[in-house]
């Protein structure tokens, strides 16, 4: 993981999220309050715009700037959760050394753990954690493997299955929790956007 990797991933993710924005907006209007897609799009735009400011910075500093931008520029649950994710990654040790696949997995795992603590949500509650926690577990298995590409294909599969699994869940966290049975039958918009992000990044790592 490097600063240029972060920038190029942010750009690819932005493209994919924009392409799927109508779907996410509709999901959120069904069971949330419709702001999720705008928050995610605003956040990605802000991060992509950081390119000139961060491209020559050390990784820890760049991650910290991304964290503060996400935290102050997005708002809503997404801002707090993704801000927490980047802030935690920025606090990882030895970021001045080469960040290999193993180290990058550890950083992502610790970032997702911090998001879980911030949002106090677990698997089965119809949130983005339904996708992120299983992905984090899989990365934990993968991190010592020398050949990680097959594993990343599994990560893509897990993210998709878990995203789809939120459809029939009752929500117990977030805005959708106020709906009771009426939230059933719709995929969680946060789970869908998280799955798209994971899908995009994994595919790009596999293809490089």
């Amino acid at each position: 993981m490097s600063v240029s990797f972060l920038i190029s991933q942010a750009k690819s993710v932005q493209k994919v999220i924009d392409e799927n924005s109508a779907e996410i907006e509709i999901l959120d209007q069904k069971i949330g309050d419709g702001d999720h897609i705008f928050n995610i799009q605003r956040g990605l735009k802000l991060v992509v715009e950081l390119e000139d400011a961060i491209k020559d910075l050390p990784l820890a500093k760049a991650l910290n700037m991304i964290a503060m931008k996400v935290l102050s520029g997005i708002g809503g649950s997404s801002g707090a959760l993704f801000g927490t994710f980047f802030m935690t990654m920025a606090k990882s040790s030895d970021l001045d050394k080469d960040v290999d696949f193993n180290k990058a997995c550890e950083m992502i795992i610790s970032g997702i753990k911090a998001m879980k603590e911030r949002g106090k949500a677990d698997v089965g509650e119809k949130t983005m954690m339904d996708v992120l926690l299983p992905v984090s577990e899989k990365l934990n298995e993968l991190k010592y493997e020398s050949e990680f590409k097959p594993g990343l294909n599994e990560v893509i599969k897990i993210a998709e299955e878990r995203m789809l699994s939120t459809k029939d869940m009752l929500a117990t966290k977030g805005r959708a929790s106020f709906l009771g049975e009426r939230a059933k039958g719709h995929i969680d918009p946060g789970a869908r956007s998280s799955q798209l992000i994971i899908d995009t990044i994994c595919k790009s790592v596999i293809n490089n």
Binding site: N39, G76, K173
Partner: protein, 330 residues
Amino acid sequence: MKKFINNKDDFLKESLTGFGKAHSDIINVNLDPSFVSRKNKTKDGKVSLISGGGSGHEPMHGGFVGHGMLDAACPGFVFSAPTPDQMQAAAEHVDSGAGVLFIVKNYSGDIMNFEMGAEMYSGKNDSIITNDDVAVEDSTFTTGRRGVAATVLVEKIVGSLAEHSGSLEECKKLGEKVNKNAGTMGVAFTSCTVPAAGKPTFDIGDDEMEFGVGIHGEPGRKREKIQPSKTIVGNILEAILDNLKPEKNEKNLLFVNGMGGTPLTELYLVYEDACQILQSKGIEVTKSLVGNYCTSLEMQGASITLLKCDDEILKHWDAPVHTAAMRWGM
């Protein structure tokens, strides 16, 4: 979408700037990070009250900044929680040494962002969470009930105690009491349009209403055919009374709140219906508040809040207040 708007990105900034100019005798508006604070510095030793939340509920919360109510308010984007840097900056700006009490409505985004703001602020602080909406059931398995219109009452009543030298602990205790003594439920006839979305949040038929609607247009208990006001008000009050169970000799504040698109004429009609129904049940209405205080953009609809009042609550309700949206006694 028909709105007074120049471009979506500047919507909030332009509105906040206008708000600051219109009420420059009472408040200042700071942009980037945005917060509304009192024009006059908080007096030494007074606990500072800070609230905030997504915009689109005006006059809540900026309209309640001023003597006898809030010291600062942090507006987020429309229907999106504000960010931790706003809370941190507002706290640093207003804290006069007696500590900061954050008043937060019970939504995941607000809770997380206020929590982070509180962690980032180095001074003494505490928080209260409002969750007065009886439309959604409270249970250990959910985020719990939503914080809605009674937040206005909490801000007014705790604001007075803070003005009368209440400590941080005392302010928190009174705020929690007011929240516990209050129950709210709303009904919507139309949806609302978030400027960034450009189209209504939900579809609703001409002859339908959303019973138990949330203040962001979130669905409530059920979708029903529209009924006469007395029936709607009766159903709302039944849900509230089931929950609050006021005693016959207890004093109550009755608050009819407009969602933004319903005229005052109708809100007073709702108030009259509610008074009659409560009277028939032997429930005493001692204090009143009618108007648009906790809105949902241009949504047509109203919520009713009942607050059980003891002498402490009554005293602080009557105390002088001078804010952009609420003023009496001074």
